[in-house]
Every structure is written in structure tokens, then in C-alpha cells.
Symmetry: C2
DNA sequence: ATGCCGCGTGGGAGCGGTCCCACGGGGTGA
DNA sequence: TCACCCCGTGGGACCGCTCCCACGCGGCAT
């Protein structure tokens, strides 16, 4: 045996896995043919295809992703970016369920999911270049703020991007969101149908699109029912429990006669419950309450909270397919997709 | 300009990014030197290093991960595998918080996090080969069942692996877990200190290590206090709300005189609350209750639940560092790490 | 019979890094 | 002065795949 024929010792301790070359040799065909079989090209004779498939099975061959990626300059992976993950926001089932949907939507297309949780600001700033350099095929962006510039930088770098939610009405990038306005309308209509007339609302931060949508829905429902909108029945929260309590206290001060509250999130609703209790109001006897999100707390607070449900997993799946579409052919694909919400009636209203 | 000098049109629409070659040309050095600078080799003169660093900055160069990975047969990425993600279990803050810690622990080492959520069984079965073929540098495995063989197959394939929790006392693989036994002991000791004597427990599935640990802690605390363990005060749940209700009902039937319950999870505790209410018992007046996990429901059920907290984020961080250690030098690294738990006292006990 | 077409095919040339060998030049000791 | 060493360096070979060009061959029209 000449030196050249001796197998080179591998550098790493890892098991040496069969290459496409090995498959070709075993199947008695060329590399090109094996590649064609793997990639499902029709230009392969049945004979060769069978031989290759047998060789693949016998060797337990699986293509090396790095090599393929280097050759094609695709990666078959997308990044899911959650900014600001520290702020235990990430622990909200909101994210998990969307991720679940995303994962389902991607894996059926053979795509990998890269989870990128960014901590501080500066880290987030570096992200655009980083993502482009990693050559992920696309990016899913969660929880973008109105003034966030990352989406635009990604767009400049020609990285296909899909957002969860939009930054504002004029969002140019592809995105998926729930019908917040419609959901809020459902909630308030339900309160009105229950005979309530002084319906207050605790909103989210006014600079967030979801918050505005839910407030608009509140107004819609009142208008539809011919009930005038009273501005003193509207108080701003910030999607936190504390914010919910403060807003509720303020509302009770302004309008002690209120008989219903629509809170733009379950967490704020839970704060409202505490404040209502403290003020001696019974729920739903004195004050009916509806939340938004149908999160886990909705089922567990006392009384169980009527809430608006968003189809989170489906939103994730939709995000995945929008992104795949955009990756396949840039510039195609619908801009924004709105998914319907639904009212889950429990005991609080 | 000869044809050979004309830039080749790039195949994809993406912007062509500078390569290491371009940096070398611009800096007036060889490829090797650039590579050395990037990888922090000391064998580079200050002069060359400065020139290279300038060129890198000017071109905005970022190394191509696929190429590096092909050459080194490392990937600088690890997979986090969550089996069975369908079962909305994944939505538990448990996972999110651990993932948060994992992400923090990895990103500081420049490692990427690949999230792999498996649905059905067959998919899970293919996973070992798949993971080895993707050449992730390591695997983090969540929620392994006692009879799960994936860890062993990964070990055979020489893939560094760290588990969240262990399959049993004899776990050979690296893993991180909370001190379940100690936490349970804290919980039950707290109940005894409150003057309770007929302390029941709702356990998890007996084939799960966490469940056994928490049951052992329950026994420990009673023994420490000289209170005999009564088997009829022990009922098995399955970590679901339904299971908790059923177990609580059974316990009330067996021992109507019980005055305290330690539930091995908050979710089961929440089921127990419902059943206790239905039986007309007040909490904590008639029956004191302690849960486990300090999950979000603990804060929101009525009354707020005293519960045992596990340091989830830290568990994630520890998993990451164990894995990195194992990747750096196989076979080193401690087998199992146990992190302390802590009792969070609220109003239920 | 001869040309032509087109199908299946083999294999060369990259993709962009790392690894390592070989080489030039300045310092050191004999 | 000469041999030796070591340090910094350039660049060839290679990682495993895809892309694409060129080629052989059988079937069809001429």
C-alpha cells in the first residue's frame, strides 16, 4: 500500500462520517449523480437512482450541511430574534406558542431554527451585520418597537424578514398579527350585551400598535352600540400588573359608577382585579371584566377571566410560511397577514 | 480587461460580502496571516496585525461560518432539543426560563443556539443521526423520560450531551437539576412549623426522577420532625391540573382530617385548590398548601401559593457551561450538578 | 447509412475558510 | 565568519458539497 492510499488520521476525535464521494464510489456512479439524487433532480435514470439510494442507506449517509451551505450560499436556517429577552417577557407563553408554530412551519420545509435572544442594546445593534454575515436565509423578528430600526437595516442588507406584529399602520415589511381591533370589539360588545353601560378600558402604551388596535376596537364597539365614548373611561397602562392596578385605581377615582372594564391584556386585568377587590367591588357582580391574550393567568385568577384569544401557534406557522415564500422569491409574498381572534367566555363577564 | 478578470456575477441576489482573501489583499499580507489575526494567534507581528485589523474594519469583514465549519469540522453551535413539544408543555415558563439561561451562557462563548422541537415519536427517533450529521458541537436535552434512549445513542455517536434533569440515580451523562429533595423538605418543614400534623402530598408520576426526589424530601421532613409517614396521605398525580384534582379528591376521601398538602407542582396545586374549595375547606385556614415550581400560576391563583422555586435561568446557564466544557475536552466535566431551591412564602401556607 | 438531438452522466472548478509545511531574515553562540 | 535557531510569514492542499460543461450513446428524421 503506497503512502498516498493510507487513510489520513482524522483531526478530531469524532467519528468520520461517509461523504458524498463514498456514496458515489459504493454506488458505482459519479458525484454529480449522487448529488442529483439527493436533491431530487428528475434527470437521473431509475437504475442509478436505485443504486444511489441503496448506497445511502447502507452507509447511513447524511449530507454535510456546512459543505452544502458553502457551495450554495444558502444555509437552510432562519433566525428567530427576540430582543430584550431579559425582561422576563420572553417567559410569557406568548413567545413559546409562537415559537412552537414557527418550528412546525419550518421543520416541514427542512429549515433549522436559530434562536437569538439579545440582552442589552449594544448587542442588539450589532445584530444586523451579524445576521447577514451568518448568512441565515431569513429572519423572524419578535416584539419590534415602533422606532426600531433593525428591520430596516435587514431590509437594506436584503435579508428576508418577517415581523410578529407591525410597527405601525405603514409597515412595509412582511408581518403577521392578530386582529386586535376585532378582538377588542368582540370583548366590548360582550360587555355591552351583558347590559353594562359604563364600560371603561385599560389600554397598553399608546405608542404600540397592538395597544392602539385594541383601543380602536373598544371605540368601535361603543359606537356600534350607539354608546358615546367618554374619555375619562380610558386609562393607559403599560401591559404590566402594576400598570393595570394604577390604571384601575385612576378609573375608579374618575368614574366610581363604572360597571365594566376591558383590559388590553390579561396581566393588566389581573392587576385590575386586585384593585377592584380592594375597592370592595365584586366581579362580575358589580364590575364585569374582560382581558386580552387568554394567557395562562386568565384561567387561574379568581374569578376565571373572560378573555380574547389570539391564534398564537397559527401566527407562528404563518410567519414561517411567509418567510419561506419570501426566501424562495424575494419581493413576492403578501405584506401583512391578520389572523382572527376569538372571545373565550369564563366567569368574569 | 481580460475575461478572467471580470467579476463573476453572483448566483444569488444577495450582496457579495468580502472574503478573507480580500482582506489579505487589502492589508498586503497573506491569507494565513489574516486567519491568524482573526483567531487570535500570538504569532503575528504588531505591524501585520494592525494592518489586518484596519482592513477588516474598512471592509466590514465577517468570517463565513460555513467555510470555517467545513474546514474545522466544528460548527460553533449546539442544539437544544425539546421532545414532545406539542403537548403545550413547552409553553410552560419552565422551558423559557431555562432557554434564557442557556442562551446567555452560550452567546458569551460565541455559540449559536439551534432550537429543535420534535413532534411525534418517529421524528424523535431520527434525531440522533440527524444531530450527529448536522455536526452540532453538542446537544442539550430537555425533559428526558426514564426510558429514553436518545441520550445513549448520542453518547455512542460521541456527541457531547447535557441533560436537564436526570433519568434516574444512575445517570451517566452530564446533567443539571434542581435540588428537588431539598426543596420538598423545605416545603414540608414549613407546613410542620405552621403546626400542621396531617400533611398529605400529591406526587408526580413515580417513574420520573423529579417526582421521586420530591417525595423523598417529603418523607425526610416528616422523619426529621419525628412524624410518622402515613402511606394513605400520599397520592400520585401526573403533573396536570386534572391529576391534581383527582389526587386531592382521593386524599380527602381517605383522610378527611388532613390539614396540609404539599403538591409536587403548582399546576397540581391549582387543581387541589379547586377540589378543596369544592369540599368547603378554606386555604390556609383549614388546609395549608404548598406547591413546587413557583410558576406564574402560583402568584395568580387565589390565595397566592407558597411554592418552591428552582433557579431556572441559572440551571440553563450551568447546562451551557457544562456542555462547553465537555465540548472543549471530552470526558472531563462533572457528571451532575445540583442547584439549590428556595421556598417562596405567600398566603396559602 | 449518416447526421442530429437530447438524455444521463462524470468530473473539474469553485465556495471561503484552516492547517501546516517550507522559507527568508535577524539574532545568537561558537 | 558561519552554522543554527526561531519567529513571522506566504501559500498549497484540503474540508464536502453544488454547479455546469462536455461527452457518450441510443433513437429518430433524413
Amino acid at each position: 500500500m503506497s503512502p498516498a492510499e493510507q487513510p489520513q488520521p482524522s483531526r478530531t476525535a469524532a467519528v468520520r462520517r461517509p461523504t458524498l464521494n463514498a456514496v458515489a464510489a459504493r454506488a458505482g456512479v459519479g458525484r454529480g449523480t449522487v448529488s442529483r439524487v439527493i436533491n431530487g433532480s428528475p434527470k437521473v435514470s431509475d437504475r442509478s437512482r436505485a443504486a444511489v439510494e441503496r448506497a445511502i442507506a447502507e452507509l447511513g449517509y447524511v449530507p454535510n450541511r456546512a459543505a452544502r451551505s458553502l457551495a450554495t450560499s444558502r444555509t437552510d436556517s432562519v433566525a428567530l430574534v427576540v430582543p430584550d429577552a431579559q425582561s422576563r417577557l420572553f417567559a410569557e407563553p406568548y413567545f413559546s406558542e409562537i415559537i412552537l408554530g414557527v418550528s412546525a412551519g419550518l421543520s416541514s420545509a427542512g429549515m433549522q431554527l436559530l434562536l437569538v435572544l439579545t440582552g442589552d442594546e449594544t448587542e442588539y445593534g450589532r445584530l444586523a451585520g451579524y445576521l447577514a454575515a451568518q448568512r441565515v436565509d431569513g429572519v423572524l423578528l419578535m416584539a419590534v418597537h415602533a422606532e426600531d430600526t433593525l428591520p430596516d437595516r435587514l431590509a437594506e442588507l436584503a435579508v428576508p424578514t418577517v415581523l410578529a406584529g407591525r410597527r405601525g399602520e405603514a409597515e412595509r415589511l412582511g408581518h403577521v398579527r392578530a386582529d386586535n381591533r376585532g378582538g377588542a370589539r368582540l370583548a366590548v360588545r360582550h360587555l355591552l350585551a351583558g347590559g353594562r353601560r359604563a364600560v371603561a378600558t385599560i389600554t397598553g402604551p399608546p405608542d404600540m400598535d397592538v395597544a392602539r388596535g385594541r383601543l380602536d376596537g373598544y371605540r368601535d364597539a361603543l359606537r356600534d352600540a350607539g354608546v358615546p365614548v367618554a374619555e375619562e373611561l380610558i386609562a393607559a397602562g403599560d401591559f404590566t400588573e402594576q400598570g393595570g392596578r394604577a390604571a384601575m385605581r385612576e378609573l375608579l377615582r374618575r368614574r366610581p359608577d363604572l360597571d365594566a372594564v376591558f383590559a388590553a391584556s390579561d396581566v393588566m386585568a389581573s392587576g385590575a382585579v386586585q384593585e377592584l377587590r380592594a375597592a370592595g367591588r365584586r366581579i362580575p357582580g358589580d364590575v364585569a371584566l374582560v382581558g386580552f391574550d387568554d394567557s395562562i393567568v386568565a384561567r387561574h385568577i379568581d374569578p376565571p377571566l373572560t378573555s380574547v384569544r389570539q391564534p398564537l401557534a397559527e401566527m407562528g406557522r404563518t410567519m414561517a410560511s411567509l418567510l419561506l415564500e419570501e426566501i424562495a422569491q424575494r419581493g413576492t409574498g403578501q405584506r401583512g397577514v391578520v389572523l382572527p381572534t376569538e372571545l373565550v367566555v369564563r366567569e368574569s363577564a
